[in-house]
Amino acid sequence: MLRDKRAGRPRLATDQRSRWYWMVPLLVLELMGCAGCVKAPAGQNACGLPEPAVPTKINIISYDSPGMPFFGDQMARCSYGRLQIRHQMLPFDALVNQATISMSSSSRSPYHIVHVYDQLLVEWAGKKWLAPLDDLITKYWTKYRLYEIPTSVWETMKVNGHIYGIPAIQNPEIFVYRKDLFAKDGLVGPRNIADVSRLCDALQSKESSRYPLVMMYSKMSDHIAYEFNNMQHSLGGRLFGKDGSPRFNDAVSVNALQTMVSLFKKCVHPNAVNFTVEDALVGLQQGQFVMGVLWMNNTPQLDDPTASKFAGKFGFLPAPSACDGCAPVGYWAQDSWAIPANAGVDRELLFQVAMEGTSAENQAQASSLTLVTRPRVAGIERSPYWQAGVASIERGAVGFERQPYAYLAKDVIVRYGIDALLGKLSAKEALERAAGDYWRAMHEEDFIK
């Protein structure tokens, strides 16, 4: 029998057992951790992809956005034999930074399939960091039923006449409102911004809410720049001249920003200048706000009874326009998959992997989460959010302007737009300063020689 040296008492068998029993949970955890790195068993080629001649690793990165991580996981299920596919979700900013660094490098990118949204697609394709996909799209047009994706969506994937993205989901902004409060006060949904302003008056006078409206006039994720772009586009303005010169300080643009400032001062909570989308959603879920313009893919959370006090009480409409007959003051974003030009892996194989993950069958499954790019499987009939989103798109919602230097304008619009909302500058002063800084940056960055 062993002796415990410290106490001098006989050590019991249970003591010995306790010494290694604590390792059991660790062993279980380790086995669980390893489950993800076990190779797909030979003979289970779930996607029917050709097995590469040499061991090939494919890394896919996506950020949190309804549907896209699901498609990424579906791609990872295509691992087979020598083909190893791994999908990793990153925070949005981390994805942008890591992809920027790896794609701008002269060596091979560690990432092979990258989740991008329309702005990134334009910027990265413009810098020739992405591989064009035209030939592969033509080749696999029938096999992957790519004809089911509308031409208008394919157009948004084009930069300088070439297609750089495989469109997966669409995300327009829509108008969200509390049906119960509107019905109680005898109000109807707005068609334009003037209607929204009148609704504010009505809701404030009936003390339904001090700040009835939530708009993403926020610095977070550059939202205010998108909202300015939407308002300006709806009023018929443009951000840039043909030579890249700023047009976001012209009379139409000043009017657009002034309209935003008026709406903000009248009915939007002051903290909205730093709201995240979650802040806006929680405010609506908890009844602080009555209406707002939000990304359609976030709206199902409003009807989630586990998170929302008012599930089932929300109505959804297309985003209102700035004037009668104008385009909606709402953004239309597309999320897609792109292949880095320096991926260093067979481009055709990467394309096939991306297409397997974004197949019509997988899109049908994801259509309960998001508006997928194939209308045939989009479940529009079932969902009130999707209907409002599709209507926003059909009425002319657009994305941010598609010039490679647009990010420079976005930065200054965010900076000075917030100053205008906070009353530090007038709308005209803010846009004049923004235009001056933007034009200087255009020269510094060699966009203007």
Partner: protein, 286 residues
């Protein structure tokens, strides 16, 4: 040990330090004299980046906020740390263990998670701070008013740092020789006199050390701002660290971003140099 043997022993360390610390700094200085975007080639521009930055309102604003962050939070979390360290000496063992764990929490928790939870305290509709202030009829827009957002970030700085200060100062108190204190008690010194003439002088090197760390950390502050305010409202809470990130990775101006990084290194060095001199003199005296 011969010179050759000595060199062989320290060579790996020297190579590693040079590769991981010195080389990036030299490359940053090199880039600061160039114009460079991701995917491009560096073009020499001389002092242009520095000239542009030194005349830029954004840089001036970020510098003022960073200095305010460092200089306003430093005395508060140092005094708070000292008070709590002294208190720890006077409580029972069990409670001391509990308190030490609690004080350590802010810097044990992942910074992003800690900051997120901290910022929730100030959120309008569910935060405890606006709720309590509301009870006494004080309404502060923590995320919309520049001074309020700046205060919130400074409060975060205090919350994040004071625990570390408590640990260091409490450790310092453990090294205080008992006989000095006993002699003072025999001589009839009151608690305040012991604090003034024995404890504080003994803790001075520790205070210098934590001040040094706090100034350096203060100049690097980034993640809390990133999570809480993204530099907003407007640019009210943009620190030098955050601005460096924005210039480098949002505006993709790597040369300018490098120049800003070099300026912040110089600024940090200027700020800590009196502390370094004091520490060096103290060591010489010892």
């Amino acid at each position: 040990m011969t010179r050759k043997e000595f060199a062989a022993f320290i060579a790996p360390c020297v190579v590693l330090t040079a590769t991981l610390l010195v080389a990036p700094v030299i490359y940053t200085v090199y880039l600061s004299f160039h114009h460079l975007s991701f995917g491009g080639h560096p073009q020499f521009v001389g002092w242009t980046n520095y000239q542009v930055l030194l005349g830029d309102d954004q840089v001036r604003g970020a510098l003022i906020f960073t200095l305010a962050f460092v200089l306003l939070s430093l005395p508060v979390h140092t005094i708070l740390g000292l008070a709590l360290a002294l208190m720890l000496e006077r409580v029972g063992d069990r409670l001391r263990g509990l308190l030490i764990s609690a004080y350590a929490m802010p810097f044990i928790v992942t910074p992003v998670v800690g900051t997120l939870v901290f910022s929730w305290l100030f959120k309008d509709f569910w935060g405890i701070v606006p709720y309590l202030l509301d009870k006494v009829n004080v309404h502060i827009l923590w995320f919309a008013q520049p001074w309020a957002a700046q205060t919130m970030v400074i409060l975060w700085g205090i919350w994040w740092t004071f625990g570390f200060n408590v640990m260091v100062l409490y450790a310092g108190l453990q090294t205080l020789p008992d006989d000095h204190v006993r002699a003072a008690v025999v001589d009839g010194a009151s608690y305040w006199q012991r604090l003034r003439y024995i404890i504080l002088p003994h803790l001075m090197p520790f205070v210098l050390l934590i001040s040094l760390f706090n100034v350096i950390d203060g100049f690097r502050v980034f993640d809390s701002i990133w999570v809480m305010t993204k530099g907003g409202p407007g640019t009210a809470t943009e620190s030098i660290g955050y601005l460096t990130y924005r210039v480098s990775f949002v505006l993709r101006q790597l040369g300018k971003g490098s120049a800003l990084a070099v300026l912040s290194i110089v600024g940090t060095f200027l700020l800590i140099s009196p502390l370094l001199v004091a520490r060096f003199r103290g060591q010489e005296r010892d």
